[in-house]
């Protein structure tokens, strides 16, 4: 792993920049705390902060204990975990492919997970998310490995453009098969239209725990590879001249992205927009240092996911709008305003 971090870090920044980064960090962390608090308080049965706090200390009634401990905490944890994973996966994908259109699903993760889930529903009759999570995970990994093998065979390090196209192409093949299969099987279609919406509902710890190790490894790898991504952003030749092992960095990035996006998609369904949008916003607001982008994406993406989920609970209460649908409606206007206002930087 030393090769990954073998690039010298840039000289220490002047104190002004550092304090500004500190301020940015505290704003994002504060937003995250607010989002978590709202996620615990708001829902079909709104609870005051005092009640939530009392319940967390074990002094709540049976009802509030069920609502907070049984329902809202697992849901919030799922949002935090999946959000962080998608944000970081998106940051890595965009830096790696140098393509602003690239979302974490670009390497075929979503298409693979969807096909596996559709097969599980159509052939095995599975409906429960705790069973489907394993299928989704397996599907995501298998397809990404196939994409990598196609995109990187031959000489040299995996070419990002070729990997991107291979991901899109293979993803299209699998999504076509999924569509064809669901269109001829009403049961599978019904399950898939809910799964496609993406949701935090019913993701208990029995579903969260299996995917947690994958996300932890993925995040660790992403933070390790962060400094080297800065060198890679200057082009392969510059990176090599600075002593970075381009091939190993690429493999590490792909493994990390696959673990993160695959696990997150298995957990909450395909909410690709988070990973697409958050890294852009971070880059335009806090600059192009990949370490900053990765770290702040990990913190800011869960804010978007949790706030969208909270909004989805109240907007047509007592019914709910799945989080994947709200995310685009909350996030896209922000993205559009920023893209118009800022001298939005390309990659």
């Amino acid at each position: 792993m030393t090769a990954l971090t073998g690039v010298e870090s840039p000289p220490a920044r002047p104190p002004v920049r550092r304090s500004r980064r500190g301020a940015a960090l505290s704003v994002v962390v504060a937003a995250l705390i607010v989002a978590v608090a709202l996620s615990l308080m708001i829902g079909a049965n709104p609870l005051s902060p005092q009640v939530v706090w009392a319940t967390l200390r074990g002094e709540g009634s049976t009802e509030t204990t069920y609502i907070v401990i049984g329902l809202r905490i697992p849901r919030t944890v799922a949002g935090l975990v999946a959000g962080a994973a998608l944000g970081v996966a998106g940051a890595l994908t965009q830096a790696f492919t140098r393509n602003p259109l690239a979302d974490p699903g670009i390497l075929g993760v979503n298409a693979g997970a969807a096909l596996a889930v559709a097969l599980g529903v159509a052939l095995l009759g599975l409906r429960d998310i705790s069973a489907l999570v394993w299928l989704a995970l397996a599907g995501a990994f298998v397809v990404t490995i196939a994409v990598y093998l196609i995109g990187s065979s031959g000489r040299g390090a995996a070419d990002p453009l070729r990997l991107t196209l291979a991901g899109v192409a293979l993803g299209a093949v699998f999504s076509g098969i999924t569509t064809g299969m669901t269109l001829s099987n009403p049961d599978a279609f019904d399950s898939m239209r809910s799964w496609n919406a993406g949701s935090l509902l019913g993701r208990g710890f029995d579903v969260i725990m299996p995917v947690l190790p994958f996300i932890a490894i993925g995040l660790a790898l992403a933070f390790l590879v962060g400094p080297a991504m800065n060198a890679l952003a200057l082009g392969d030749d510059v990176a090599r001249a600075q002593g970075a092992d381009v091939r190993r960095i690429r493999v590490a990035v792909i493994v990390s992205t696959t673990l993160l996006a695959g696990a997150a998609t298995a957990l909450v369904g395909p909410i690709a927009f988070v990973g697409l949008m958050i890294p852009h916003v971070v880059r335009w607001t806090f600059g192009v240092d990949q370490r900053t982008i990765i770290a702040l994406s990990a913190l800011l993406a869960p804010v978007l996911v949790l706030l969208s989920d909270v909004l989805g609970r109240v907007v047509i209460a007592p019914a709910e709008v799945p989080v994947g649908i709200v995310t685009a409606f909350v996030g896209a206007p922000v993205l559009i305003v920023l893209a118009r206002r800022k001298r939005a930087s390309a990659l």
């Binding site: 393509n99 602003p100 259109l101 690239a102 196609i150 995109g151 065979s153 031959g154 000489r155 070419d159 453009l161 070729r162 991107t164 196209l165 291979a166 899109v168 192409a169 293979l170 993803g171 299209a172 093949v173 699998f174 999504s175 076509g176 098969i177 569509t179 064809g180 669901t182 269109l183 001829s184 009403p186 279609f189 019904d190 239209r193 809910s194 496609n196 919406a197 927009f273 697409l276 949008m277 852009h280 709008v321 799945p322 994947g324 649908i325 709200v326 995310t327 685009a328 409606f329 996030g331 896209a332 206007p333 993205l335 559009i336 893209a339 118009r340 939005a344 390309a346």
Partner: protein, 349 residues
Amino acid sequence: MTLTATPAPRRVLVRLGPLAVPLRVRSILVASVVVAVVLVLGIVSLGVGTYVVAPDAVVRTLLGAGETMDRVVIVEWRLPRTLAAITLGALLAVAGALFQTVTRNPLASPDILGLSNGAFTGMLIALVLVSSSWQSLTVGALIGGVATAVVIWVLSYRGGIQGFRLIVIGIGVAAMLASFNTWMLLQIELETAMFASAWGTGTLNAVTAGSLGGALLSAAPFVLVATVLGPSLRQLDLGDDVAAASGARPNLARGIALVVGVALVAAATSVAGPIAFVSLAAPQVARFVARTPHLSLGLSAVFGAVILLASDMVAQHLLPVALPVGVVTVSVGGAYLVLMIVLEIRRRA
């Protein structure tokens, strides 16, 4: 955008009166082969079905001879569909090549910039509010697609259209529409949702000679503009500064190219609904096969034609259940692209 540094290609100068166009030998060969494949597939597709006609009889019938029954089946029933597959495939591919050249992004196509999501939104609204007739669905899709393009355009315009801003805003709008579509599918009855999803991927089942003729007539002037525009677009590929320095007007060329692209997609959508993926895959496949350094409009067109025609034949005849062609184009186009990438790697290794 290019994967390979192509060695100096062999060129021939084609003279046509005062015009002299240098053409690459390989491009001409590839185009001729693909056109031949389209012709063969076309003749086969006219002959197969529940009423089978031998290829030689198909050709005789097309030339005006042949039996009356053959003529009814081939010319009146099957020909509009086959011609639609060929021409609409070409239109979509040219639109895709324009979008990808203008944005300098191989992932940019009308599909991704929200046009197909917008078309599907329009279709869903028409289905729920108006009726499930094919006319109301295509009109809905057409309005939805064009309205989306206009919205993305207006939001992206700031004293000019810049590729990156267009892409990001296109993503945003597309994501909102996609979410709205998912939400609509969850709200309506299962049966209606399946119907909408099937037809929302695009189909050639409802093509008539009239609708095809109308669409092609309205697309014709735009195809002409695209042909004239081709060379100046190639300069855009070098970046705005170089293009401006060599006398091109990047903003104008880009604006025209986008309008033409949207018009071509709209024409295709008005006949067949939003057919997915042809516009994304065809230009890239053409580039891989012909090894051109840039995306070529003409080559993209012939590859678009062959992809849609082959997909429609698979959809009609080879699948256990009849599916709309849009479901198949995704898989066929994707498989084609995978194959091209693998072959390219083999060649270079």
